[in-house]
């Protein structure tokens, strides 16, 4: 960079004609402002002449005047010289270019305003397509591309336990965690989190929340900022008071963002906590937590988690040492896990370990679908560009005469090309601005409603990168649709124009290619959308195994003093159940610890002489006898009566088929183990005969796989909280005030949280799929419409262009049908070619979204055949209108024009 020197006359020649010098000037000897450079040079010239004159006998004053006179006009010579110097010349060139581009711009704007239909169509098409891709990119950028907002997020990892035959991530047990922490070589720190449901005593009643009980290293491992207060209450706890750190969202919703909350006390499940801090709004991990509290040694004891095979509700989060990677950490902890397998074969046989980076853990679920949607938006943009390109070419052809006149008046071809490119640029610019506005509006709507299953949704914002991206999209769009007209302008055939030709033939191939291209892209999107649609239908038609009509449920969270008191809890549950059952709204009510379709569950080892030496587990559920009746699970064998009396177990059909495939399961005596960790009888065996087999109820819709379930009566095991299941009178479920009242009458401290329809479990578990399907449908429908408009446009143009030929053919006796046939045939040829190309592309694209599909092959022949049929059918319609217009051509009129 040239260093600007201070300007002003004193810098050049002082009163005596001497050049003043500044000490630092020598540094910049070669780097002068061109103006000062020329000025000083000329001053030197005048001075030299002056000295010469003085030497020749002039007086100094005379010499000065004479020299100045001889030289002429100093300022004009200076400016002429500056203009020829390097920088001055460059500036001049730039000014000239800017001026002529400005001229192009003005001219472009004028022509665009004069063609409001063309400009409007082009700008709106571009706006919508650039807007969609910008909106999706905004989400992708914030969620997938940007690093998590923790300190050195690459060094944070989650640790899960694994089993050989399963890809699932299991929560690790507390003792395993302790060994990982003590023996790991690769982690700077490791922390365990345990999720527990608690109730918050607030002025308006008891509110449920989920608290992450964390070991003291957690704040250090996470490395997140607090919005208020500190995390010191967890990392260096004092014995005085228990501290709770609030998640930002919980602080906002429950405490209204109270800025003075630090130091106040809250009562959680009967215990008093001091609020020590509020995390930054970008702290999302773990998603289920509302608040964080210390998992003290006392809590480890009272929670009963110091048991090696208790792998429930736990997470491990670790911070890697500087030089370590996920791979080295994986190898490191795998060694520890192997050691544990040998040391504690009863509890740890076949248990491995899996280390996942927190980034992957957070965003991997959303990554595929986000990129798929981004891809769809990108394809949509390409189709949109295709349409605008078609429009531009048509318009350029229509302006053939104007361009011809300009060329014959001496306009350079490059200049014409630039003019056309600038016009495209203006369209793209306006389109981009509209697109950004559209993206902002769309994002506001989507984020307001909530994008299901989207991690880091709070971080989504239109950053500078997003604006750069959309600007880039605008430039790419200009290139895509503006290059053809520009090329046309530069290769304009002047003699052709004079002869009345408009050079349209040359563009026929280009425009036909554009139809094929657009149709192919539309096929890809339609096929993708159809795959998602079919997948979603498959997902929805899954039979949960019971009738969800009029079935509602809510969770009963007993107050804190019921902890460790199974009998008291049972009385409470039964009391609430009976009270609810007696309300007029409810036909029948029952209790179950984990709702079918709710996704949650607990497993227990199972023992029986048939499979003594095999380590097997089953899903263990606690229910009352009414559960089977209320849920409507079919009874397959045996009778429920004994279960009601507390003697005997009920198993699912899948259980019977898995464990007793050849003999009846009823009558077999099996042993399972109690799983309520906080009760004193945790791990004690329940040995009872199987009294009945019932139909399978799905745990989740997505894993449409009947699993072996064993139901234990409440007599043996009372869960810390239960779901109350009720079937209400048909059509009566508008308000549940009666139910809330009934619950309060039994114990006012029991919060009645949201009462949900069981059907909503099924629909809620597929919200992501529904969202993906909706996006797929929106994009494929829009793409279809755009591609059809493109096809229609090209065919209409073709008909107009060949109207003379068609008129002559009709005059020579061609039937209207044959005219229609030839136009439609031409269109269908292009559409078919596009369809074939598109189907090939869709096969590839389908493989990419395979992971998003449920019970649907990515190359589903029905979907592909249907897509082809839809596209060809639409192509037919798009071709029919121009064809009919062609058939109406009046031969006399056409020939008269000759």
């Amino acid at each position: 960079m040239d260093q600007p020197l201070p300007r002003g006359p004193a810098n050049f020649v002082d009163g005596n004609g001497a050049v003043t010098r500044r000490p630092y000037r020598r540094l910049f000897r070669l780097r002068r402002e061109p103006e000062s450079d020329a000025q000083r040079e000329i001053q030197f010239h005048i001075y030299s002449r002056q000295s010469e004159l003085i030497a020749a006998g002039y007086s100094p004053e005379e010499a000065k005047r004479q020299a100045a006179e001889e030289f002429g006009h100093v300022a004009s010579v200076t400016s002429e010289t500056v203009r020829e110097s390097r920088r001055g010349w460059r500036r001049l060139q730039f000014e000239r270019l800017a001026e002529s581009i400005l001229q192009d711009l003005r001219f472009g704007l004028r022509t665009l305003v004069k063609n409001p239909v063309f400009s409007g169509a082009a700008v709106i098409t571009l706006g919508l397509s650039i807007g969609s891709v910008t909106a999706v990119f905004t989400v992708v950028d914030a969620v997938v591309l940007q690093p998590l907002k923790y300190r050195d997020p690459d060094r944070i990892a989650t640790v899960f336990s694994t089993q050989p035959q399963s890809s699932a991530n299991f929560p690790p047990s507390y003792p395993d965690f302790q060994d990982f922490r003590a023996q790991s070589q690769t982690f700077e720190a490791l922390a365990l989190l345990r999720g527990v449901g608690m109730t918050l005593e607030a002025e308006d009643g008891f509110r449920p929340l989920t608290v992450a009980l964390v070991t003291e290293d957690f704040p250090r491992v996470l490395g997140a900022r607090t919005a208020l207060g500190t995390t010191a209450g967890i990392s260096s706890p004092s014995s005085a008071a228990s501290t709770v750190i609030l998640k930002n969202s919980f602080w906002q919703t429950r405490f209204g963002g109270d800025p003075n909350i630090i130091g106040t006390t809250v009562v959680l499940s009967g215990k008093t906590f001091v609020v020590g801090g509020v995390y930054d709004s970008r702290v999302e991990y773990p998603v289920w937590a509302d608040a964080y509290a210390l998992l003290s040694e006392d809590l480890v004891r009272s929670e009963g988690i110091d048991v090696r095979d208790f792998r429930v509700d736990h997470r491990i989060l670790g911070r890697l040492k500087l030089s370590e990677t996920i791979e080295t950490a994986q190898a490191d902890l795998a060694t520890v896990a192997q050691r544990l397998e040998m040391e504690y074969s009863a509890s740890n046989r076949d248990w491995g370990v899996r280390v996942i980076s927190l980034t992957d853990f957070t965003v991997s679920s959303a990554r595929t679908s986000l990129f798929a949607i981004l891809g769809a938006a990108g394809v949509f943009l390409l189709i949109g560009c295709g349409n605008v390109a078609n429009l531009s070419v048509a318009r350029t052809l229509a302006r053939g005469r104007e361009i011809g006149v300009r060329i014959s008046l001496g306009a350079a071809r490059a200049r014409i090309a630039r003019q056309l490119l600038v016009e495209s640029g203006v369209i793209a610019f306006v389109g981009t601005v509209i697109g950004v506005a559209f993206a902002a509006a769309a994002l506001a709507v989507f984020l307001g409603v909530g994008i299901p299953g989207l991690p880091r949704a709070g971080e989504v914002e239109m950053s500078r990168r997003v604006f750069l991206f959309s600007a880039g999209m605008g430039i790419i769009a200009t290139m895509l649709f503006g290059l053809m007209p520009a090329l046309y302008g530069s290769r304009f055939n002047l003699s052709g124009i004079m002869k009345g030709e408009t050079g349209e033939k040359r563009f026929e191939l280009y425009r036909s290619g554009m139809v094929v291209f657009q149709v192919a892209l539309a096929v890809v999107l339609v096929a993708g959308g159809a795959l998602l649609l079919k997948s979603f239908q498959n997902l929805q038609s899954v039979d949960p195994g019971f009738d969800t009509q009029d079935l509602y449920t809510f969770r009963i969270d007993p107050p804190a003093d019921f902890e460790g008191q199974p009998d008291a809890r049972r009385e409470l549950y039964l009391g609430i159940r009976d009270a609810v059952r007696n309300t007029p709204l409810v036909m029948d009510a029952a209790l179950i610890n984990h709702m079918p379709l709710g996704g949650r569950g607990v497993v227990s080892p199972i023992r029986h002489p048939n499979f003594e030496d095999v380590d097997v587990s089953v899903w263990l559920k606690t229910a009352d006898a009414g559960f089977f009746d209320v849920s409507g699970l079919s009874l397959i064998a045996g009778a429920i009566d004994d279960f009601g009396r507390g003697s005997g177990l009920v198993v699912s059909e899948a259980f019977a088929e898995t464990f007793f495939p050849d003999s009846p399961a009823v009558g077999e005596v099996v042993t399972v183990f109690k799983q309520v960790s906080r009760d004193p009888d945790y791990g004690e065996p329940i040995t009872e005969p199987i009294v009945a087999v019932v139909g399978d109820a799905l745990r989740t819709v997505r894993e449409n796989l009947p699993e072996p379930v064993i139901y234990v009566p409440q007599k043996h095991q009372v869960w810390p909280n239960v779901q109350l299941l009720m079937r209400v009178r048909p059509g009566a479920a508008s308000t549940f005030d009666q139910v809330s009242e009934a619950v309060r009458s039994v114990d006012p401290r029991v919060p009645v949280n949201e009462i949900r329809s069981v059907r909503s479990f099924a629909t809620d578990s597929v919200v992501r799929e529904r969202f993906a399907r909706n996006m797929g449908l929106v994009f494929s429908f829009s793409a279809l419409v755009l591609a059809l408009i493109g096809t229609y446009g090209v065919l209409s143009f073709l008909v107009r262009q060949r109207s003379k030929e068609i008129g002559i053919r009709i005059a020579l006796g061609a039937t209207r049908n044959s005219v229609v046939g030839s136009v439609v045939g031409k269109g269908m040829a292009l559409v078919s070619l596009g369809t074939v190309v598109g189907l090939a592309g869709a096969l590839g694209a389908g493989r990419f979204i395979e992971g998003m599909l449920f019970a649907t092959s990515s190359s589903d022949p029905g979907v592909f055949a249907g897509t082809a049929a839809v596209i060809l059918g639409c192509g037919l319609v798009a071709g029919l209108f121009p064809a009919l217009r062609a058939a109406r051509t009046d031969p006399v009129g056409v020939l008269r024009q000759e």
Binding site: R29, F44, Y47, V77, E80
Partner: protein, 111 residues
């Protein structure tokens, strides 16, 4: 943009030629041209300085600020390698062109 191509071309050759013996500043160049052409060619400052800057931009000349024997700061120009090459081709062109012009002139006077 003053003068025709021929004049501009001529001036460029003359400047490059003048500088072939060693660096000079603008004033000296003007004087040297005047002297060596026996006062036939006189280059006005309004043409000379733009020409010098144009030749510098085209990298035929390189310029450096330095001190004159009297201790004044002046901008000295010298011919670059590129300038020397240009001089050779331009000189050849110029010679052949001026020969052609002379031939035309001589035939005209003969007729």
């Amino acid at each position: 943009m003053s003068g025709s191509d021929l004049v501009t071309g001529t001036l460029d050759v003359v400047i490059l030629c003048t500088l072939a013996d060693g660096p000079l500043h603008g004033y000296a160049i003007g004087r040297a041209i005047k002297q060596s052409s026996s006062d036939v060619l006189s280059v006005g400052e309004g043409v000379l300085y733009p020409a010098l800057h144009r030749l510098e931009r085209k990298k035929f000349l390189a310029a450096q600020w330095g001190l004159t024997p009297t201790g004044r700061e002046a901008k000295f120009y010298r011919v670059t390698k590129k300038g020397k090459k240009e001089l050779t081709t331009m000189a050849a062109q110029w010679t052949s062109r001026s020969r052609a012009v002379l031939r035309i002139l001589s035939t005209e006077t003969e007729q």
